[in-house]
């Protein structure tokens, strides 16, 4: 042994003694400590290190002072550094903050009576709740462990064997150390976990070599390239080269397993994240592992389509490029994308998504984590349905009906002047109530608020509604996250995983993981009654918005008598927001009753509001057909196809002397309009959505506006200017502030 090696050993001895002094169960006896060190020192005596030590010895003999250039030395040195907890000065601010958080979390857990286990990770002592997986303890201590199959929301199965760490534990009367997958093992008292020893490094190298034995190196054409965990882990933990020279496994590339998902079986590393997702989270179990051994592959049952409504999530959790999106296929590389945090526009659940755009086009929608709403999942409708914002058939210019009876492109100036002139004329000739407005459940709160303000304060009518069904507004009585805690869940009249996907995920979680009863019924009948009676206060009833009013009334009565919670699930991304913005004939912003809020708004808007409450959407269409309403202003709504009585809506639209429509597309309603104003989609404007539980969430502009379209609030603001009231709105935020102030104070507190 050279002098240097001896020095190293002594150094190791010192640090190990220090470490053991911290460990409570260890004897501080110098003799015992040195014995342990001797064992520890013998540990890395695997074939290579032994050889290298020998080589080092040979080199060291003639020149005892020369530093031996061997990995033994380097490893020994590295080991001493790594096993020592770093001093407070060496830590980055982020690490210090983490340490403080770990400490405070541990104290909070202790205060809450959670049983804690004390373990050491790379010399850092952490306390974690009993039963925590070793991998989570490692992350908690700030150590980095590579993994592929582990996912905090899925069962740990140790399929990829990547998260190997060395664990030292008192077992059968001796302190033993071995390497195992840390995602499958819960912590035990006194565990000493090491994530960076030479043995662990060697094991990680070996695992990556195995994983890459069959994984094709077509990263340049793989959509996952650039954000691929396998790429990252190979760079961080893998060997530089592989010893496998054999031909890799081959399957047909890019095999489409559904309309949205394409499967590349060559790239699959059999981590089973997708199959576990399908079994445990979405509950449809449509993906499975087929065959055995090296011919294992992911597939669907008998090659059927992967029809799950949550298939997009498997793309996101796949740690390689095996499951890929067909809509995103070759559309961009991850480093070329600009991503904006937004809210999905496809249903009322209000999933937090990231809209990812390139060259002014939406290329991908990824889920964002929000534990209160969507956890991290999205449904396929949200993931693949938002591409309508790219559609070429979107309106790009204002359209006006000319003398020949057809819609022709016009300039904004011309179109807005015509609308303003018509409003003024209609008001002068027939009175303010001859004008009616229909707001939208798909526009933001800001759009709707300003629309309501224009019609109420400037035009002076209360003929204002957004509802396509003749129902009252029924807020949800629980939040989405609370649904998973109920013991009895009754869903009526809907295909929950398609109509309310995120609510479905909560219900399935309650049903599969928490032992809840889940009763599905078509109508509110005796089965529902019995189930709710049996469930008592621990039951929740989920109703679709489109159920007949008598059913909803019956359910309401039923829930009131049994103490169950009633959730009427609204359909659109801002169904609640449209109501909150006051787009109802008898409600003002903040859902204030007209009589109560009028005084406040009279002074706030500086205009006396109309006194009588107006017509609802049914009444508006009746009045149009009867000739009492002369002008219809429709913002972002399509009553010609979505109104509960489409015939009535179409008749009214045709009978109306003048119809203005703000829309994204030339819908059935827009085709019957006299002036069509192109609006910006949710991806092209800022704003606020309220989801079905009344949660207020912001959307952000992700891409430039298509063509000459404008955000709805800007169109309305321009029109307000032309009607004689210049408005000081420069952004959606200005309107949002005003909207907040327009709600009477007490109501703002009491609401929701």
């Amino acid at each position: 042994m050279s002098e240097n090696d001896k020095n190293t050993e002594i150094h190791t001895a010192q640090t190990n003694t220090e470490e053991q002094a911290n460990a409570p169960k260890e004897s501080t006896d110098q003799q015992a400590a040195q014995q342990t060190i001797a064992e520890a020192g013998a540990m890395p005596a695997s074939a290579t290190t032994a050889q290298e030590a020998e080589a080092a010895g040979r080199v060291a003999d003639p020149q005892p002072t020369a530093p031996p250039v061997s990995s033994t030395q380097a490893d020994g040195g590295a080991r001493t550094v790594e096993d020592t907890p770093r001093s407070e000065r060496d830590r980055t601010p982020a690490e210090k903050a983490d340490a403080v958080k770990v400490q405070s979390d541990a104290e909070a857990a202790k205060a809450a009576g959670v049983e804690m286990t004390k373990v050491t990770v790379d010399g850092v002592e952490v306390e974690v709740p009993k039963g925590t997986l070793v991998i989570e303890a490692c992350f908690r201590a700030g150590a980095d462990v590579p993994y592929f199959c582990y996912h905090p929301r899925l069962t740990s199965i140790g399929a990829c064997r990547m998260c190997l760490v060395s664990v030292e534990l008192e077992m059968f009367g001796a302190r033993r150390e071995s390497i195992f997958t840390c995602c499958t093992v819960p912590v035990a008292e006194g565990m000493a976990i090491k994530t960076r020893t030479p043995e662990v490094k060697k094991a990680q190298n070996g695992m990556l070599e195995f994983l890459l034995a069959n994984h094709p190196l077509d990263c340049p054409i793989c959509d996952r390239g650039g954000e691929c965990p396998l790429q990252n882990m190979t760079v961080a933990y893998g060997p530089p080269t592989s010893r496998f020279i054999e031909e890799k496994r081959h399957f047909p590339k890019a095999y489409p397993i559904s309309d949205y998902v394409v499967l590349d079986r060559e790239r699959c590393i059999q981590c089973m994240r997708c199959t576990r997702f399908c079994e445990e989270i979405s509950g449809d179990g449509q993906l499975a592992l087929l065959n055995r051994g090296s011919s294992t592959e992911i597939g669907t049952f008998f090659g059927h389509d992967f029809t799950s409504n949550f298939s997009g999530n498997t793309i996101e959790i796949c740690p390689v490029g095996a499951l890929l999106s067909r809509t995103y296929r070759f559309a961009a590389r991850p480093w070329e994308i600009s991503s904006s945090d937004s809210i999905c526009s496809k249903c009322g659940n209000g999933c937090n998504v990231a809209l990812q755009t390139r060259l002014g086009e939406l290329v991908r929608v990824n889920g964002r984590t929000n534990e209160d709403v969507n956890e991290e999942w999205t449904c396929d409708r949200g993931k693949f349905g938002n591409y309508y914002v790219n559609d070429e058939s979107r309106l790009k210019h204002p359209l006006m009906r000319r003398a020949d009876g057809a819609l022709h492109p016009a300039s904004w100036d011309e179109a807005l002047a015509a609308v303003a002139e018509r409003i003024t004329r209609t008001k002068a000739e027939f009175g303010a109530d001859a004008i009616a407005g229909i707001g939208s459940t798909r526009c933001t709160v800001e759009d709707n608020y300003l629309f309501g303000k224009m019609l109420r304060a400037l035009v002076g009518t209360n003929n204002l509604d957004h509802r396509m069904l003749p129902h009252g507004f029924e807020p949800m009585q629980t939040t989405i996250a609370e649904i998973e805690h109920f013991k009895t869940i009754v869903s009526v009249g809907m295909k929950l995983d398609w109509d309310q996907p995120i609510v479905y995920l909560r219900v399935f979680k309650a049903y599969s993981k928490k032992g809840a009863n889940w009763i599905k019924a078509d109508v509110v009948d005796n089965t529902v009654t019995e189930a709710l009676r049996a469930g008592g206060a621990d039951a929740v009833l989920l109703l679709p918005h489109h159920l007949p009013q008598d059913q909803i009334d019956r359910a309401k009565k039923l829930c009131a008598s049994t103490g169950a919670k009633l959730n009427v699930l609204l359909p659109d991304c801002n169904s609640w927001g449209a109501a909150r913005a006051g787009i109802l004939p008898d409600r003002l912003p903040g859902l204030t009753a007209f009589r109560e809020g009028r005084a406040h708004l009279d002074s706030f808007w500086k205009t006396p509001l109309p006194t009588a409450s107006g017509l609802d959407s049914d009444g508006i269409f009746d009045a149009v057909s009867a000739g009492r309403v002369q002008m219809l202003y429709i913002m972002g709504s399509d009553p010609a196809t979505r109104f509960h009585d489409t015939e009535k809506a179409r008749r009214a639209l045709e009978a109306a002397p003048f119809v203005v429509v703000q829309e994204l597309f030339l819908t059935e309603t827009a085709k019957r309009a006299d002036i069509v104003l192109p609006a910006a989609s949710f991806a092209e404007k800022d704003g606020t959505f309220f989801n079905i539980e009344g949660r207020e969430q912001k959307i952000k502009q992700a891409m430039p506006v298509k063509g000459d379209a404008r955000p709805d609030w800007r169109i309305v603001a321009d029109l307000m200017g032309r009607l004689g009231t210049p408005v000081p709105y420069f952004s959606a935020r200005d309107i949002y502030r005003e909207y907040n102030r327009s709600i009477p104070k007490a109501e703002a507190v009491a609401a929701r």
């Binding site: 340049p220 390239g225 559309a331 590389r333 070329e336």
Partner: protein, 159 residues
């Protein structure tokens, strides 16, 4: 006295000087010229000359470029735009699944560092000895894929 001879010497030097200079000029007449008559003659570039990019093809005529965008990622001046699409059996541009449907290099942005060539996994983009790039507008200096691609060796040239 001495001043007088000095003056004579000076005059003699000044008389001789132009002839000396012209002597060099006329002496050069016999030497090889450094300049060349450019449009008629082109200088042979060094083997490592880094001028304009070209997009190479395989011998069978398929494009080497697979549209992976790594060149665009490596480009320090953000001069490259790649838009990829999927090959089909009917319309095959490159081997494998992916090809570049648009490949544009902004030659005035480009700093001719050759990082794109280094990043290219298939050797598709190369900075070659094509240096004639003068154009009258900026827009004309955005080279498209058609301008960058070398001619297909299996296809007869029509021009």
């Amino acid at each position: 006295m001495s001043d007088f001879f000095e003056d004579v010497k000076q005059i003699a030097r000044e008389v001789v000087a132009p002839f000396k200079g012209l002597g060099i000029t006329f002496g050069q007449l016999g030497e090889r010229k450094t300049t060349i008559s450019f449009p008629d003659y082109r200088r042979v570039m060094g083997v490592r000359a880094r001028w304009r990019h070209v997009l190479n093809r395989y011998d069978n005529g398929l494009e080497k470029c697979i549209g992976c965008s790594l060149c665009a990622g490596a480009c320090p001046s953000n001069a490259i735009l790649v838009v990829a699409d999927e090959n089909t059996d009917e319309a095959r541009f490159s081997p494998g699944e992916r090809y570049a449907v648009r490949y544009e290099i902004n030659m005035i942005r480009c700093i001719y560092c050759g990082f794109c060539q280094e990043a290219c996994p298939t050797g598709a983009v190369e900075l070659k000895d094509v240096f004639e790039m003068a154009e009258s507008t900026r827009h004309d200096l955005i080279f498209t894929k058609e301008m960058l691609l070398v001619p297909d060796p299996n296809r007869e040239r029509v021009d």
